[in-house]
Symmetry: C2
Subunit: 235 residues, 2 copies
């Protein structure tokens, strides 16, 4: 290792130890993709995140604004009828909420615990997000079909389908899971699936998710919509 690499490594370590004194600024940085690749929410921002998600309900207002904007965009389009007009929905923290899980695990300030998260998924009781549920219903009235595209592994299919139906999401043109055990990154997996959809006669009118990994790379859709999420970063 030369000196420069050594210095760079030290800086990364230093970086992780820095507190963000203004948690609202930290959060805006996350939502705008200025702050990326973080492993946990800064320890001093736990109360901010709880207030944002639960106490102040700002999370709900912010989600509603995004979903309304998405609906007005879709409503203003002249849709072609020689294609399958579809809308891509991410699943976790887009249709179904993992907030109850994170509320018990320090609101993102604790290191991610894959085993505990797996158990949470297996219970299949994640609540639906009401703002996205409105969008999901309203785009169907416009003649646009939902496609659910998730980084969840295929092995969770059964519990996920039941959870979705219980939460008010009974229909999809397709639901696409990641192959169990795949180590493909979310952004690459989703981009590949979207490309297949467009090659097979679908037009991706819109694409909504809570992570930039849902919305970037090739074939993102005619417009993308970013839901808020201050809890974690999906690379």
């Amino acid at each position: 290792m030369n000196n420069f690499e050594n210095e760079a490594e030290l800086l990364v370590k230093l970086r992780l130890s820095i507190n963000y004194p203004n948690c609202r600024s930290w959060h805006l940085g996350v939502e705008t993709s200025n702050i990326i690749n973080f492993k946990t929410v800064p320890a001093n921002c736990k109360d901010y995140v709880e207030d944002y998600l639960i106490t102040s309900q700002q999370y709900r207002y912010d989600s509603k604004t995004v979903c309304k904007e998405a609906y007005f965009y879709a409503k203003g389009l002249a849709l072609r009828n020689d294609t399958y007009n579809v809308w891509i929905f991410d699943l976790d923290d887009t249709l179904l909420s993992n907030v109850p899980f994170y509320a018990k695990h320090g609101y993102g300030t604790e290191k991610h615990d894959p085993e505990a998260f797996r158990k949470w998924l297996e219970v299949g009781e994640a609540p639906g997000l009401p703002e996205t549920l409105h969008l999901y219903n309203n785009i169907q009235e416009l003649g646009i079909e939902p496609i659910l595209l998730t980084e969840r592994f295929q092995e969770f299919e059964e519990v996920t389908l039941k959870n979705l139906k219980d939460a008010g999401f009974p229909y999809w043109r397709h639901i696409l899971f990641r192959p169990t055990g795949s180590n493909m990154k979310t952004a690459n997996f989703k981009s590949k699936e979207r490309k297949k959809l467009e090659k097979s006669g679908h037009t991706i009118i819109g694409n909504i998710g809570d992570q930039y990994a849902d919305l970037t790379k090739d074939n993102p859709g005619r417009r993308t919509f970013k839901l808020p999420n201050p809890l974690y970063y999906e690379p």
Copy 2:
């Protein structure tokens, strides 16, 4: 005009008349590019914008977080020495602030007045933004040269150079203005100039601006950073 187009037009009109009841949500929507193509700040959000920019200083905290993140990113890189390592800076509301102008014009709630704005530019007294000034100085210490890329017309070159120097920005490898009278869109103009730079031996390490038009299309740079701006939208 067929019925569908008629309906779409009506919806656009309807859309413009909608208030965003939660101005913080409206602003987050703008910063995340969920809300685009708006002509003015919603009338009910004037106080929010004034508070954001002036009273609460949240604007300063948010800008500082972005600029710090940009600096840490740059500091962690191993720079090649067989290329010109450069950083692209937008000008208006990135290096120089037009907040004093907008403070006298309803904080973005009034229809844009090109004549009044022209007079403001001709005075050449826009203050420097201190957070970006830090970044501008610090990247030069790392061996990265600033390139200023602005949608301002060439005709404003003289007053702009003086304004920049007065505000603490004395150096640039290049400063690139839009040809006077050009109706090329900002995003296209900037993308074209960035492509020319990369073809002529420059590596765009980073790119910072307050509008998505500064940061999108081809050759955006290795990483882009979005400064906050609740005042206007540049298509």
